[in-house]
Subunit: 232 residues, 6 copies
């Protein structure tokens, strides 16, 4: 591994990042063609947060949070810390002191493919975290990793400056260069859903709204009148 | 697989289904002889829901929610959608649009051995879900499955029309024909627990209330006075 | 296994136990040198409980809660029930009746490397539980285990009378003899953190506060100006 | 649970059962429409066994193998013991003594959604097992279960007398009444595969043999000449 | 954690240790009352090894094998290295170089609640390992742990000098002081099994040999003649 | 997702690829700085294969192997098929027919973050596979994915043309451009290990060979003479 930190990274347009955060994970994920979703084991430590931000990436070693300290210096307001690990690890690499430091610098939240501690305090501070585990196990500062390099976090490639969106449905990454086009598609998708929602609420069926009946029939799908017809 | 949907299924008596829902999972499970409990990885997406309903069953393919659209047409007020999958899959097969459609038709909730998305919206709508995972990953509508056939969901056989009870303790299925007799046993069990609860609250021990001391002694169980006696 | 129960165990000083409970898991774990933390799969059934208590230990057989009844008689006010199992098991060994009995005797909570049921009722009663699973599956009373013997629970050795501290970050055990010295270290650690928190909140970096820059440099850590420098 | 054993069960035709065993899991599973496959965590304890047999089913309690003794009396030559458990359990419910008893009665193998022990001895005896775990933990004989009732084993419903086929690819169940028709389809499928195998070995592509190119094109699939075209 | 190594440990009698190794895991585990079995995820990296040895214990940090080097100096011929970790970790802490060193000092094998690498080479060298994972990920030598302290490995307390027995069924630990008495019980158990095996091979049923029929009847177990009787 | 296939990819020098295959996973992984190792759940379906090859990458949908057929046409002799999936899936996407086709085109093996079937036949054919699961569950050809795009497989980014090395220790990827420099480092590392192996075989300790004693002492590591000194 190149044990380095990159000081300056490019970020997407601030308004775009904010807008993606508001649109939310499910809509953004659909809008960019169903790619970029982190594995579903990444869960929020408390409900009802929704953030969008620019990724400052950290590649950490198991049981070691040295690189998180390096990363915080490189964060700007609106950033999100994204921590991958060189191997599966659930240690509590981040707690209320690091969160205090993050808040002081305008960091919006943490995405960590490892553990987090002080979760009650983090909720009281309003600092949202999506993690693989909650664990009080503290970590050492002995082995170098890297900051602001491309890395894999929970199954997705994330590069520094990519947009990260997180809410109760999980976490999705949008490559920085696609951020604005994904925002446009996501907004259009959301506008489109409102009318669908109305029609469904009025009792219209998805079968009809999406015109699925002909394709079901072509595919050979059969309706039986009762369970007893199954036996034949 | 027979790629079919059964239009008409028999359901248990409405009052029975309601009553089972009120009695709750733990009591119903005990009352029917400790069978029918789905695996404990099935968890509610938000706390404090408690439902009973008649199962409309869906056998889905991984990453494909086509059959859910077929199923909703076949639901009646008071039903619960029960989704099994032909293989382990955590994709978000169900979100707020499908929930809107379900609510419009009086469906009480969803039991899905896969993933669900839009969980904050579902909570706001008051549509409860018990699932294996939360995932924003959307699904295609390309491969046929089946609706209203008997299937295995989270380790239990569920037939269309069976009664499904779900609360914070998980999900239990009651075969349709046994619903009323299980309700009677469960009610009697609950009545009986009230007096037990009082006695225990007053300080009586389970050891005495259940008369366990003689059987402990017969089994050769020994009381030592202190930890140092362990060494001997 | 010696199928025995030990009636009388030594406990740590009451004030010490209380104080450790207030200090919380993360601080106590750090203060005793990062040992004693139970595996992070042990999660609270509802948020925001924080307890300290003296362990009454139970070694149970899979699917069998007989020994829990034996243990409750041996509990004193301020105790915490700690249940290990001879093999991995998620059955609901404990529910609202046992919790009623525990509350009647002043037991503060339950740590169980297995399942628990009636979780909504337990929350309403204010009886906190940290468990591996939530499961409505009831258990038999057929096979002997042991009470108040040293055992392994979720990866940690726990002896009867050890102090158990549990909160939203998990569960940690402190050997009885070390309880007071750990309390002193933990208190001093907490006092120390307040000033660190202030400095970090004021924008000082961990890099500077902990004087990490020289060691980073000695270790060969390199700062690059931009991502494009990575390619070289 | 009904704590019963059924003495007499119907079995499929012996020649059909043998033939299904020879055809193997992958072919039989395809031939019956891709249903009936047990979850892939069921693995053989040693490689290169391939069996077909009639299921004698056992519903066991966690940590308890009492019902296996009951079941062996009801086995006939050519049967396969199929063990489900009322909850997830990895204990070693079966070892060389039970295998000796099975061999004496002509039982062909064991499918167990739990653990097995003495695996080296079982291999030396030529008694194949497909299990969830290998574990030396012995079990008690204290709690009743059931024998020859329909049950769910590793995610599939299995009724007594159903045909079970197992090899290095896993385990599949064929409902007794479908056994002969599945055998016919499976044989025809296998005959058909020989010619496909020859054509593929000669260098013909699946794309051509299955005529996939037109459907790829209709679906909008695009070929690019080089990776650099991805960026556009 | 006390970051120490203990130079001199007591070991059980050599003949006793050897005999326990020959008796094997399943027999030894039963003979000492079904305690001491490590979790079944501990698997041999190649089949058909069977060892008994005295434990030299290592408490390692995640991703760090420094303490293994410390431990090897303290090993004597007939010892087995037993490695626990302060948190779940699958890194390859041990490979062919350490195995060469172990063989040079007469170490019989490795039990590691983490990963191992060079597994083909280890098999060729005849150095058996039971581990949680196989992983080529190398480890650093940066953070202190401890050697020859009591620790928990894969769910069991192991003290330096305890006897460790491992074979294809897994790993069991026998406290040093109990080693000879367990050997005696295990030998007697094995002698006893030979006659049981003969009787079972001759067709006698466990139901009769263990006289289970009366207890089945007392427990209310019922035999039905056919599956159709289940419906009643 | 861009549903495309890239026809022409660049590959590393043939001799380099071969040499990396011979050097093996553990050595290559170390030589490139401990990056690029796939998660350790990727296991060979049979022991003692060791391959190096150029990656032809496939991004598949769950339960769907359509893209594998597309990919085989684009393979050249010496290539390795690398299959990632858009979500966790264990279905058997690959069996003996596809292996026949692969062998006909000179493909050296398969790395698949999903399932594989016909594993006995694949071993007989000498076609090695590293997979997450073995499963007989066949797959459909209904939903487009992509071929020869960069993807994440078992936690690592793999681009088409990267070198993949696999053996009993797992799977590692080497970026195409680094292949030759990694080969040089790996070869030098292996040369260096021979002399270390000799010294260790002769009884020299790693503690001395790596000069660890001074650093242990500086770090505050303490040697005690006996376990009883631990209590102090």
């Amino acid at each position: 591994m190149k044990t380095v930190a990159v000081r300056n990274i490019e970020r997407a347009n601030t308004d775009t990042v904010e807008a993606l955060g508001v649109l939310g994970v499910a809509t953004v994920h659909e809008a960019q063609g169903r790619v970029g979703l982190l594995k579903p084991y990444m869960r929020p430590i408390y409900p009802r947060s929704r953030i969008g931000g620019s990724a400052v990436t950290v590649l950490a070693q198991p049981g070691d949070n040295w690189m998180l300290h390096v990363a915080i210096e490189l964060c700007k307001p609106g950033d999100v810390l994204v921590v991958g690990c060189t191997t599966d690890n659930s240690d509590g690499m981040f707690g209320d002191l690091l969160a205090t430091s993050c808040l002081a610098r305008g960091v919006r939240g943490l995405i960590i493919d490892a553990g987090v501690r002080d979760v009650a305090e983090l909720q009281d501070m309003g600092f949202p975290v999506w993690s693989k585990a909650v664990s009080a196990k503290g970590t050492v500062k002995n082995t170098l990793g890297a900051v602001n390099v491309p890395l894999v976090c929970a199954g997705q490639l994330i590069s520094p400056g990519d947009v990260v969106v997180a809410d109760d449905d999980g976490v999705v990454v949008v490559p920085r260069r696609n951020a604005e086009s994904v925002r446009v598609s996501a907004q259009s998708r959301e506008d489109n859903e409102a009318s669908k929602r109305e029609r469904l609420a009025a009792g219209e069926l998805g079968l009809d709204m999406y015109n699925m009946r002909p394709r079901l029939e072509e595919s050979g799908f059969i309706y039986l009148e009762s369970v007893s017809d199954l036996e034949d």
